[in-house]
Subunit: 110 residues, 2 copies
DNA sequence: CGCTCTCATATCGAATGTCAATATGTGCTT
DNA sequence: AAGCACATATTGACATTCGATATGAGAGCG
């Protein structure tokens, strides 16, 4: 079995979910698929991480949800960004850049 | 009060400690200072995070410790990398690059 | 000496985030 | 009808980080 996927870095899941929902609404598993896609297969989000995160983020007012039908005619919950969520995504991207720069700098130190 | 420091991204502390010890041995607070320095002040490692991490990593065989005296004549525990720790640092750097690339790619998507 | 400050290490409790495992239901296919 | 894949959900275990707090010892001062 090929082991290419990595465990999530704690704290990045929210950002990736927000980013995945940027272009438009998706249902839960659709979000997981898009995250896997845009991270080039590096991150595989497990259901046990995904759904609690979605609920948490809906609670926080970053996402709004509505029931609908999936591409395969299954009942599915569609999530989309709220205005607050869009703002949050901006914050998290900025934060990420700061952190990534700092760590990269540290690793390049003599 | 100026709030410039960020909470640590979970999972990066070990790597930063290993990196801080690359050039040579340091005592606990010295490690915290060097991390703050090489991350350009972005990360401030709190004692409540640092010491448990050091113990954990010593347990794992990545660090070895010995008691000595600090620059100010205080009793201090000096840590240095073991061979295993050096190897671990390599792993973690590689892992970090993979993750950072994947997330950066995701954030640059559409 | 007695007082306080800083350095240095240490631990505990709370909160959080992630995962593995498990569960439920439903549509599609055979 | 049986089996499979999709879709959401929850639970329990585990690790990590932080805030708060504690202890002890050297340094500096009146």
């Amino acid at each position: 079995m090929i082991e290419s996927q990595t465990n999530l870095l704690q704290g990045t899941l929210d950002m990736l979910i927000l980013k995945a929902l940027g272009p438009g609404e998706l249902h839960g598993l659709g979000i997981a698929r898009r995250i896997e896609q845009i991270t080039r297969g590096t991150f595989q989000v497990k259901p046990g991480s995904l759904f609690p995160a979605l609920h948490r983020m809906e609670e926080a007012g970053w996402l709004s949800a509505s029931w609908g039908e999936s591409e395969n005619n299954r009942r599915a919950k569609y999530y989309k960004l709220t205005k607050k969520g869009t703002k949050q995504l901006g914050h998290e991207q900025q934060q990420w850049e700061r952190i990534a720069l700092a760590i990269t700098a540290a690793l390049q130190t003599g």
